[in-house]
Symmetry: C2
Subunit: 203 residues, 2 copies
């Protein structure tokens, strides 16, 4: 069974999903494949926009999203989430870094560490110096990754991932695919888990 | 415990929620209070708009809503839903009728029957003749209800319900309140049920 999580470090709802995923993996025995995509590219290709934009000027809707976020944090016992004061952060460099890290032996650690730098001790992760310091604080090979970010194949893979995501039906973040069945939003993780369980039964 | 369902006959997602509610009532022993509101009024007061408007021009998002609707129909074994070809139907008259019916002994039957006329054998339920024929086909006292719809108190109650709904945090349809805790969308019915169960335990 292939379970994909299409993520961009810049989406808080993708981050919160990332925090809920390990327990689902433990319960189901299935490992999620983390697919780096550029949410800005998804928005551009679909004509969609960030909730930060679409919620503007709508009374009650943003407040409700906040209520749902608090419920999610409580349900999943996430105590160290901090909204990033530099939001929206341009994640192009750190997403290219993720593509490069996939070819190395520290992809999982890269994801964990960058997410920490984005949403636990939030930093302006689109400034080279901030990124470099973050890599170093996390014991990641900064020079290697910065070089990797400039690689033509790395750049193209991120574009291709994003194009493929839209072709598969993406329009926002986070998006999940369980054997090509699409699920959108952190609140659909329960359905993602049910789908995995049902697919497990069929095998 | 007070569990409110703020509904407008014009919202397909409110209708689908209506179909899922009886099983929740059976499982929890709690009865939902159906509160008639004008979704158009909610949109106007909050600056929000119908998904029919907000989804326009966004690739994949409408298709995904359709996937989620199919999943909901399957999960709740709803076989007789039909999208209304006259959508959006101006529901002002039939919502005023609901307010009037609340003062009579056929409120529940009124809701059931009008919903059938909207989303099972869908009709243009904003034309007086269509409404009259529907009332008569359902054995509802047509003349009484049409008279009731013109009542000043009835008209004002619908406005007041809508204002109160927005004050409580509504911005769209369907909206639920479990002892003032707000839940938005048919996909949140699972959380509504969990909240009822938790509140039941506390008593």
């Amino acid at each position: 069974m292939i379970v994909e999580f299409h993520f961009d470090f810049g989406s808080p709802n993708a981050y919160l999903s990332h925090r809920a995923i390990p327990a689902i993996e433990t319960r189901t025995g299935v490992t999620f494949t983390y697919v780096p995509v550029l949410i800005g590219g998804v928005f551009k290709a679909t004509g969609n926009a960030s909730p930060a934009v679409t919620l503007q000027g709508i009374k009650n809707k943003g407040e409700y999203q906040q209520v749902e976020m608090e419920r999610f944090l409580k349900k999943h016992k996430i105590a160290d989430y901090n909204s990033n004061p530099f939001f929206p952060v341009n994640t192009l460099q750190i997403m290219r870094g993720a593509i490069f890290a996939q070819t190395q032996d520290y992809y999982e650690r890269y994801i964990h560490e960058i997410y920490q730098h984005m949403w636990c001790e939030p930093k302006k992760m689109d400034e080279p110096e901030v990124i470099r310091n973050a890599f170093e604080a996390s014991g990641l090979p900064s020079a290697d990754i910065f070089e990797g970010m400039q690689d033509t194949t790395v750049k193209q893979t991120l574009i291709d991932n994003t194009t493929r995501s839209v072709e598969m039906g993406s329009f926002g973040s986070p998006t999940f695919f369980v054997d090509n069945e699409i699920f959108f939003g952190k609140d659909k993780l329960t359905d993602v888990e049910d789908e995995i369980i049902n697919n497990n039964k069929k095998r």
